[in-house]
Symmetry: C2
Subunit: 435 residues, 2 copies
């Protein structure tokens, strides 16, 4: 697995500030050449000259012009400093910053002082704007990512991320183990409450009635399925291809006496069969791949009865955009958050009617603040369970995601829909805002 | 103008029930041939065999199998009856029902008994479902409708519809002359109140603050612009290419003492210049044409400051779909209600962040119930102002639109958006639902 490649020999002690291996350790120290500084400047130019400091292994800040920037806090000067510990890390970073920043950070050969999320947010915000002409072509281009999420590949992709071990996730998720964006009606709400509020928000949007049947695609540790059964009195069939999550979910269903109303099925969403009043999917679409959206639409189409409605909750984008290659390789193989135009490939070919789209981007940033804080508090426990590169990889993933939602590089869409022409839809959205 | 082509010699007396010109009047009476019945059956089959009765000029119902259908009211039997008054009308209807139904209805050579809107809704609901394969290709195909809404063409298209005369619209619109979908927090609300509620709903979504600047694209009779200035204390520049509407709006601004804060500009949205806090457009996008969406996006992009946000309110579709050719010819030349994937061509190329989409389809159906009722009450007045074909054309347009919104053939989207990465966006949508 990926840990073997990281090549970092030391052991993290938690936050970056405490983590300063000697540059000499890697045997690549020595003088920084002018050509290296020039290449670094070019690389920084290509990503919009973010207002961050860069310190090389000789202790000097470089390039000098980086010092004149203004931080994203509105004050003067850079908000954070990246320390490149050796020549090899610098050359890799210059060659492909999107991929090698993560690799080198995980290996401890790049560090960040002054806030990892703040550093990444500054970089995100400085990136050149999307080019409308290029994007226009991309919007019309056919996609070709379907193979990445074929049935067997999807299983291995999901296994990679979700079967790390429930104990690991328990260290930093909320008590109910909800691994998707929370909903904070009030910003100061606790993470536990925000996850319950999210489950309620989804149930309200679906307007579930006692006795109805619901199919869930991608059910995580089973929290939403159990919540819908308990709170709304519905019967749920929940599909998931993560073996560990399914086992955990079934155990919870038995313990809470809901196993007569919630069935957890270890299978792919493409194998959903049945006739349901509602379809719901929270945090699975990211793993589907845009090329498979029409197939997902066909699954929904054959599963929903004539009064059927549904909700898909997914990380998204302001415009079609490839996944960061490091995240795709190390964290979420096969993942691709869609833009809204891409999401419509699920609904439009089958004539579903989109009723409601809500963008909860800032709620995901808030959720990630909680997760990152809990993760840092549990870093010692994580370090006992995994090697140091794993500890740093997951820190970077959580901090990077926080930065992505804060900066607008990522969005969170909840899309509610119904059968075309079905008129028993909510008259307004007022019901979503009852106390 | 189109009235000259209608070819209907009589004079309408209002509702269809009272309107029964003799078939012989057109000189096309006589026996109905078997081949005609067969062609009619084929045509009905192609539109999904709607559960409606068809009476031909010989007084017989045809074809017989139409009688076995079930009405959309859930009861037995057809909900409405179409009477075809002469052979020429039947042959035209068979050759291209989408276009000739409207033409022949306007001419009085086709009539409908039992509810015009109900008849059309039944037809809409029986239409064969969209074919996902065909649509998939259409979703990726380049569009070619830009020429239809070039600057001069747009002026003539808008003149055709909106410069019929303010007196005509005053007969059936609300007091404030709002010619777009109302918002009925409670279904029983009056049309006057629902239009005010809509203006407030739009203002809340935009979160306008006193002193801010707003640009409006397509300002109708000026009601929203004046409302925003009066209720929110903003300064508004409102663009419209309908000369009559601009003159009317300026007069209202002077009369209400708002002419120092609201400027009505007789010009195309493509000529918008300035730097604004908010962009708003209610009921103009239908006239823009999908090919021009990137250009509209560019206009918004150059007009909004860094904290800018916006709202576009438009009739839409569940999937890309050409406009009914009769509506396009007789009512709205150049009009094309978009699907959401099409609407995204405004936002995605410029990296705007879509925050909120609300589908108010049933609110437009309710609005049209009011308009149609008022229109029927004023039919005598309309008949004094225009020829009978005009009276029938507008009745069909209003009843047909009502049917389209009831059946889901048309949607109404309000899309709220902001600059990418702008974080002063509303935390939840609760503020939209304060009393």
């Amino acid at each position: 697995m990926w840990q073997e490649n990281a090549g970092y020999p030391g052991k993290s002690t938690g936050a970056d500030a405490d983590f300063r291996p000697s540059a000499k350790h890697f045997g690549f120290g020595g003088q920084v050449f002018g050509a290296e500084r020039l290449l670094l400047e070019r690389m920084l130019e290509s990503i919009g000259n973010p207002s961050v400091q860069i310190e090389l292994w000789d202790g000097q800040l470089a390039p000098q012009h980086q010092l004149r920037g203004v931080g994203s806090d509105g004050g003067d000067g850079p908000v954070a400093r990246m320390i490149v510990r050796d020549r090899g890390a610098l050359l890799k970073l210059i060659s492909n910053p999107e991929f090698w920043f993560g690799e080198m950070y995980a290996a401890g050969r790049i560090e960040v002082a002054g806030g990892l999320a703040e550093f990444i947010e500054t970089v995100y915000r400085s990136l050149p704007r999307v080019n409308p002409d290029t994007l226009g072509k991309r919007l019309l281009a056919p996609f070709s990512d379907a193979h990445r999420n074929s049935l067997p590949k999807a299983r291995s992709n999901i296994h990679h991320h979700y079967d790390i071990g429930n104990e690991f996730y328990r260290l930093w998720l909320d008590r109910q183990m909800v691994y998707t964006c929370g909903y904070f009606p009030v910003r100061s709400m606790s993470l536990e409450d925000a996850q319950i509020a999210k489950l309620d928000h989804v149930c309200r949007k679906l307007q579930l009635q006692a006795g109805e049947t619901v199919v869930e695609a991608g059910s995580g540790w089973g929290t939403l399925a159990l919540h819908m059964a308990r709170q709304c009195g519905v019967k749920v069939k929940a599909y998931n291809i993560s073996r560990e999550q399914i086992a955990f979910s079934r155990q919870r269903a038995r313990e809470t006496g809901l196993d007569d109303r919630v069935e957890f099925i270890e299978d792919d969403y493409r194998n959903i069969r049945g006739d349901f009043d509602a379809f719901v999917s929270v945090g699975m679409l990211e793993h589907v791949g845009v090329d498979n959206y029409p197939e997902l639409g066909a699954v929904i189409d054959r599963s929903l009865n004539t009064s059927g409605r549904g909700l898909i909750h997914s990380i998204g984008r302001d415009y079609p955009c490839p996944m960061n290659p490091w995240i795709e390789r190390r964290i979420f193989p096969g993942a691709a958050p869609p833009s809204l135009s891409e999401m419509m490939r699920i609904f439009e070919p089958y004539g579903f009617s989109v009723l409601d789209v809500e963008n909860l981007r800032l709620h995901y940033a808030r959720t990630l603040e909680h997760w990152l804080e809990r993760y840092e508090s549990a870093a010692d426990r994580v370090a006992e369970m995994f090697d140091p590169a794993f500890v740093r990889t997951w820190r970077l993933y959580l901090a990077g995601s926080l930065a992505a939602f804060r900066s607008g590089a990522m969005q969170l869409f909840q899309v509610g829909f119904a059968r075309s022409g079905y008129n028993q839809i909510p008259w307004t959205r007022q019901h979503q805002y009852l106390a």
